[in-house]
Amino acid sequence: MKYTVPVIMCLLLLPSLSKGQDWVVPEERKGRLSTFPFTEETRKEGERLYNINCLSCHGTPGKNNSIALVPPPGDPATEKIQRNSDGEIFHKVTVGRGQMPSFRSVMSAEEIWKTVSYIRSFNRDYVQRVMQIITSSAYPGAQISLSMAYLEAERQVIVRAMATDEEKSVPVTNAGVRLFASRYFGALAVDEEKLTDKNGVAAFVIPAGLPGDTAGNVSISARFTDEEVFGSVTRDTVIQAGLKNRAGSLVAQRAMWNSVRKAPLWVILSYGIGVLAVWGFILLVMLKLRDIYTVGSALRGNLRPASDQEPTNKQEAI
C-alpha cells in the first residue's frame, strides 16, 4: 500500500519519458535497403549533400556540435542514430518530424541513400546489405513504362503502368503512383498517392480550381513513389484542365503610386489645369505690361514735341 503513490507516479512518468524519444518507423519501411553499394564515391557525394541539408542542425558528425534544440537533433556519429537501420534513417530523413523538416522534395531517393552512406562512414562496425533490385522487383528484366490519358468529362487523369519485356506486356499492379502539376518553383501534388489496380491503372481527379497558363494548359507528370523498385520512370504531358490565367499586370490600373502615364485622371487634370493657370497668369501679366508699354509710348509720342522744343529754346538762349 505504501508503494502505491511511487508506482502510480512511475506509471504516469513512463509515457511522458518515451514520448519525445520514440520515433516509430512503419514496419514495412524499416527493412528498406539501398539499391547500390556504399563506396568512397557515394560517401563523398553524401558528405556534400549532408553539408548542404543537415549540417546547420546536426553539426559535423563526430564533433558532437549539433545545435541546442528540444529534443536535440543529435550527432549522426553517435550510437543513438547509428543503431537505426538503413531503412529507418531513410524514412526519418524522407518524412521528417517536428522541427526536422521532410526532405522528400529536396533530395531524390538516391541522394538520401548517399547521405546515409556518409552517415554510415562514421560507424566502423557497419556492414551494408544492398537490395537486389532485380529480385525484389516484381518484373525482372522488364521495361516499366507509364502512359496517361485525360478524361475531360470526369476531370480525371488515368495513368497506366505496364511492364514490357521481349515476349509480353503485363500491367504493373499495386504500385504507388503520384501525379504532379508543374509550377514555377516545383511540382504541386495533384490528388493523393494512388495504387495501381489489377489492370495497372490509377485514376487521379484534377481539382476544379487548379490554375493553368493563359490558355488553361497545365503540364502534369506522373511517377512511382518507390523509385528504387520501379525505376525513375516519369511521364509528362500537357492537358487543358486548368483555369485560364486572366490576372494580368499589377501596374495596369491608374493609381497614385503608378508611373506618370498611369496616374489617376484627376491628378493629371488638376495638375494640368494648375500648370496652365499659372502660365496663363504669367502670360496675362506680360500682356498687360505690353499694354502699359504701348500706352506709355503713345503718351510719350504725344509729349515729345513739347520736350523737343526745350533744347532748341535753350540753344536759342545760348
Binding site: 534544440l69 521528417g96 523538416p101 529536396v106 516545383g186 504541386l188 480550381g209 499589377l250 503610386w257
Partner: protein
C-alpha cells in the same frame, strides 16, 4: 684623246651597266610584285572560299530571350554582357504573368538567422544593415513571445512609391517594389512613408566599393550598392528571373518561408521544397497580413505562431564592430 676615249669607253659601260642594273632591278621588282599579287590574290580568294564554306556549315543554334530557337552563323556570335540600359528596362518591367507572394510561418521561426545572413551576403550589406528584420513579438504579458521575420511587404498599394517625386522607386507588373539607385535623389521620403520600416539608408561607402567599381548596376539585385541611397528587400528579383527561390527562402533551415506565384495558386517551401496550394495554406492556417487597416495590401502573408514545436529562446545579442582598415 685616248684618255678621253678611255674615259668615254669606260664611262659608257658604266652607264650601260647602270641602265642594265636598273632594268634588271625593275624586272625583278615587277616579277616579285606579280608573284606577291598572285599569291596574295590566291590567298584572299581561298580565304574567301573558306569563309563562304564556313558560312554555310558553321551555324549554331541559340535560344533567344523570348524562348525561340534560332540558327545564326558562328562568326556572328558575340559575347553578350547585359548593359545598364537593358538591366534597367527589364528590371522595371518585371516578369509577365506572375504575381509573387511570400508566406511566413511564424510557428517555425526560431531565429536561426540564416535568412538574414544569406540576404546580407547577396546584397552586400553590413552585419547591422537588414533587409529582413527578425523582431521579437509579444502581444501582451500573458501571451508567449515569438520571432517575426519582417521583409519588405511589396504592397499592392505602396505608400513609398506614391511619395517618390522622381519615380526612383516603382512597382512592377509582377508585384515587386524596387529601387533604382541611378534615379535616386536622397530625399528619403520613402523611408518616412513606409509603415513597415522596411527601408534603410546607406550612410557609408559600400563594403565592396573597390571590387565593384566597373560592375554594371543591377536594379534587380541593387548591387553595387551606393553611398547615400536607400535599399530594402527585393524579393530577390534576380533569382526569380532564373526560376530560383529568393536567397532568404532557400537559406532557412526551419521551413519558415513559402514563396510562389499567386496566379499559379502555389507556394514552395524553401526548406522542404514542397509545393502546396496557396489558397489552401492561407485558409487552413488562418493567415493574416500586417496592418491591413492601412489599405497597403501587402504581398507577404503570415501564418500565426500556433502549435509551436520549440521553446522561445532569445539568443545572446552580438556586438558588431566595424573594421576600420
Amino acid at each position: 684623246m685616248s684618255k678621253e676615249k678611255q674615259g668615254e669607253d669606260n664611262g659608257r659601260p658604266d652607264l650601260e651597266k647602270a641602265v642594265d642594273n636598273s632594268r634588271r632591278d625593275f624586272l625583278r621588282k615587277v616579277t616579285l610584285a606579280g608573284a606577291v599579287t598572285v599569291t596574295g590574290g590566291a590567298a584572299i580568294y581561298s580565304g574567301h572560299r573558306f569563309e563562304k564554306a564556313k558560312h554555310n556549315e558553321g551555324m549554331v543554334r541559340v535560344l533567344t530571350e523570348d524562348n525561340r530557337l534560332v540558327e545564326i552563323p558562328v562568326e556572328q556570335m558575340r559575347d553578350f554582357k547585359p548593359d545598364l540600359k537593358m538591366l534597367q528596362t527589364r528590371g522595371r518591367e518585371g516578369i509577365a504573368g506572375r504575381r509573387w507572394v511570400m508566406v511566413i510561418d511564424l510557428s517555425r521561426c526560431r531565429n536561426a538567422r540564416k535568412c538574414v545572413e544569406a540576404c546580407q551576403s547577396a546584397h552586400q550589406l553590413r552585419p547591422y544593415e537588414y533587409h529582413i528584420n527578425t523582431l521579437v513579438m509579444q502581444e501582451s504579458v500573458n501571451t508567449p513571445a515569438f520571432f517575426m521575420p519582417k521583409p519588405c511587404q511589396h504592397c499592392d498599394n505602396p505608400p513609398c512609391v506614391s511619395v517618390c517625386p522622381v519615380d526612383a522607386t516603382f512597382k512592377r507588373q509582377d508585384g515587386i517594389v524596387l529601387i533604382d539607385n541611378e534615379r535616386y535623389l536622397v530625399c528619403r521620403l520613402c523611408i518616412a512613408a513606409c509603415p513597415y520600416s522596411a527601408r534603410i539608408f546607406h550612410w557609408q561607402e559600400p563594403t565592396q566599393a573597390e571590387a565593384d567599381k566597373d560592375k554594371e548596376y543591377n536594379v534587380e539585385l541593387n548591387v553595387p550598392q551606393k553611398k547615400g541611397t536607400v535599399t530594402k528587400c527585393l524579393f530577390s528579383a534576380d533569382r526569380l528571373r532564373e526560376g530560383m527561390l529568393p536567397y532568404c527562402v532557400s537559406a532557412c533551415p526551419n521551413g519558415v518561408f513559402y514563396f510562389g506565384d499567386e496566379n499559379e495558386d502555389a507556394v514552395t517551401n524553401g526548406t522542404t521544397k514542397e509545393t502546396v496550394r496557396l489558397s489552401e495554406l492561407l485558409e487552413t492556417s488562418g493567415a493574416y497580413r500586417l496592418m491591413p487597416e492601412l489599405g497597403t495590401k501587402p504581398r507577404v502573408y503570415y501564418l500565426p505562431p500556433r502549435n509551436r514545436i520549440f521553446e522561445f529562446e532569445e539568443g545572446e545579442k552580438k556586438e558588431y564592430k566595424e573594421d576600420k582598415a
